[in-house]
């Protein structure tokens, strides 16, 4: 459609191309790409007598082998996996269901619903964390009273403070907040399905429920993939903010809510008893980088396969 123009006076240097590209490329390279590469490099070093000395993959072995590090690493990793699975199994289906309902053409008031549903996502994570901390707090009584009213009084626990339930509770709070994003993506994708396709299905005799499963869902598979990979990336990186606000840098109680993000933060920043070590921090970051790379790789590979299947 739009083939690129070759401007007149081609023999002259087209400086303007450089000018247009320079600012973005410079800032991006210096503050986004370079740090990541440099962190990868740092993970191969350690502090020794004031000078950084190259030690190869020793840091990685330390991370995975030494109990002090390995325990934290695997604990954090396990928690992240739990986080990810819960988000995939709870947040995304809820978002899909809400989006499916919202996209029904004859529904009234969709604008209001849309606005409301996206509101929690806009709020600062700190705010959200604390609001829920208050609501769930045994001191206030909002939740215990509400549960008593529903006859479930004896089931109340200070979930955020209990090792056994803290992670799940935090995850549910995170889901509450972030439902808005996959909701919007699904909603947009569903809206993108041409009316005629739905009408043809209706003429073929399918009703709303079946239309969703057999027509709409297959058509938004790419969006499902996109949401999955975004959930994956977000879970491993953005989870820090919520957990740090609610449970602090030690991701209490007793590391039960520790995730890769908080672990990374502690590694190079230090926290209370634990000293910061920028090289181990870099190592943790690189490990996280590879974990994410694996996920993205699977996603891109999967997308490639799917595209090929549609073409053939």
């Amino acid at each position: 459609m739009n083939t690129k123009a070759t401007e007149p006076g081609r023999t002259k240097r087209r400086w303007y191309i450089l000018v247009f590209l320079a600012p973005a490329t410079l800032i991006y390279t210096i503050f986004a790409i370079y740090p990541i590469i440099e962190s990868l490099r740092l993970s191969l070093y350690t502090a020794g007598d004031g000078q950084a000395s190259f030690i190869g993959i020793a840091n990685y072995l330390k991370l995975l082998g030494e109990p002090y590090w390995a325990d934290q690493f695997w604990n954090a990793f396990k928690n992240n996996v739990v986080l990810f699975i819960m988000h995939m199994l709870i947040q995304n289906p809820i978002a899909l269901a809400l989006a499916a309902l919202l996209s029904i053409p004859t529904l009234k008031g969709t604008a209001i619903y849309r606005t409301v549903f996206f509101l929690p996502t806009l709020l600062s994570v700190v705010v959200v964390g604390f609001i829920w901390q208050l609501i769930l707090s045994p001191l206030w009584g909002v939740t215990p009273d509400a549960m008593k009213a529903l006859g479930l009084g004896q089931w109340f626990r200070p979930w955020l403070g209990l090792e056994s339930s803290a992670l799940v509770t935090v995850t549910l709070i995170s889901i509450w907040q972030y439902v808005g994003i996959p909701l919007m993506l699904f909603y947009a994708a569903l809206l993108n399905i041409p009316e005629e396709t739905i009408e043809a299905a209706r003429i073929d005799g399918l009703n709303g429920w079946w239309i969703f499963w057999k027509v709409k869902l297959p058509l938004i598979l790419p969006t499902l993939g996109l949401v999955a990979i975004l959930t994956y990336i977000g879970n491993f990186t953005a989870s820090f903010d919520l957990i740090y606000s609610i449970q602090g840098g030690l991701a209490g109680p007793d590391f039960s809510t520790d995730v890769m993000g908080t672990f990374l933060f502690r590694s190079f920043f230090g926290f209370q008893a634990q000293l910061g070590d920028q090289y181990m921090g870099a190592t943790v970051a690189s490990a996280l980088f590879f974990i994410i790379l694996v996920g993205v790789g699977c996603y891109l590979f999967g997308v490639q396969r799917k595209l090929q299947r549609y073409d053939s």
Binding site: M1, N2, K4, A5, E7, P8, Y16, I17, V19, F20, L21, P23, A24, T25, I27, Y28, I30, F31, A32, Y34, P35, I36, I37, E38, R41, A97, L98, L101, L102, T106, L107, T115, F117, F118, L119, P120, L122, L123, S124, V125, V126, V127, I131, W140, M184, Y187, A188, L191, G208, L226, D241, Y244, S245, G261, F265, F268, A285, S286, L288, F289
Partner: protein
């Protein structure tokens, strides 16, 4: 028969949607109404409205006097707005260069710039902090602006270039015939053209910047440069016992976002849905 069945389905659907609406709004409403109550009222009658004896502004007073919320707010505003400006401007420039002109390495550069979408910038924090320290930019808003700009550029470039590729080049050719330089063509012809997608890019960029806790905590935790998000987090940490103040702090943090959202919700949603369609 069909009519009643439709009615039932419709009611069922609305029930589900309203249920989630309540779930989404309830916590916020709770915070807001309780921020205006006396301590007794907060604990005695959590769900009641702040009227009569229950009304108290003590919480807000303490927030506004004991902390620097106006400063935090203006910091957040500055960082978000300036970052957004650079993201939009530099992103549009790069997207224009990549989509309009043919040159060696065009594909390579566009891939390079867009790969950042999948790579979280936080992973390079260790080296980033070292760099910021070396540049002498610790505890400056500048550091945050640079980092957020770098973070927001990939997706901005992606969205802008997808859009620009679908715009006919004839209007730019017409401007060339009229004798405009490539720079003027960018500023006077191309920029006005990308207006529909600016909202999309702004939405995708603004939210992660405003709400970010990580970089303000690590790069600029100082009093002078604290953002609202960090400020609220620290404040709450200090005042956990004073419920009124805490609730007021939370409300203060929510308020600007709420107000902006209510004003701009239509454009925001439209922006997301149009942008997301491409993705």
């Amino acid at each position: 028969m069909r009519r009643t069945r439709d009615h039932l389905t419709s009611t069922a659907i609305h029930t589900v949607l309203i249920a989630w609406t309540l779930l989404a709004l309830f916590p916020l409403v709770l915070i807001l109404i309780n921020s205006l109550k006396t301590r007794k009222a907060i604990f005695g009658d959590a769900l009641g409205l702040p009227t009569g004896k229950a009304l108290s502004f003590k919480g807000y007073e303490s927030v506004l006097t004991n902390s620097d919320f106006p400063l935090f707010f203006s910091n957040s505003l500055t960082v978000t707005c300036v970052s957004l400006f650079f993201i939009l401007l530099f992103g549009a420039m790069a997207a224009h260069a990549v989509s309009e002109y043919e040159f060696k390495g065009n594909t390579l550069i566009s891939l390079y710039l867009i790969v950042g979408i999948m790579v979280p910038i936080r992973l390079g924090t260790v080296a980033l902090l070292n760099l910021i320290v070396k540049l002498g930019l610790t505890n400056t808003l500048t550091a945050l602006i640079l980092v957020y700009t770098a973070q927001g550029l990939p997706i901005a470039i992606f969205i802008f270039s997808e859009f620009l590729r679908s715009v006919s080049r004839e209007i730019k050719d017409s401007a060339r015939i009229d004798g405009l330089s490539e720079y003027r063509i960018f500023f006077e012809v191309v920029l006005p053209l990308v207006r529909p997608v600016i909202a999309t890019v702004a939405v995708f960029s603004m939210i992660p910047i405003w709400n970010d806790l990580w970089f303000p905590l690590i790069l600029s935790p100082g009093e002078e440069t604290r953002t609202v998000t960090l400020g609220v987090q620290q404040f709450i940490g200090q005042y956990t016992v004073k419920w009124g103040s805490v609730l007021a702090a939370l409300s203060v943090a929510i308020m600007p976002v709420l107000v902006m959202y209510i004003i701009f919700s239509r454009q925001l949603i439209r922006g997301i849905t149009t942008g997301a369609v491409k993705g």
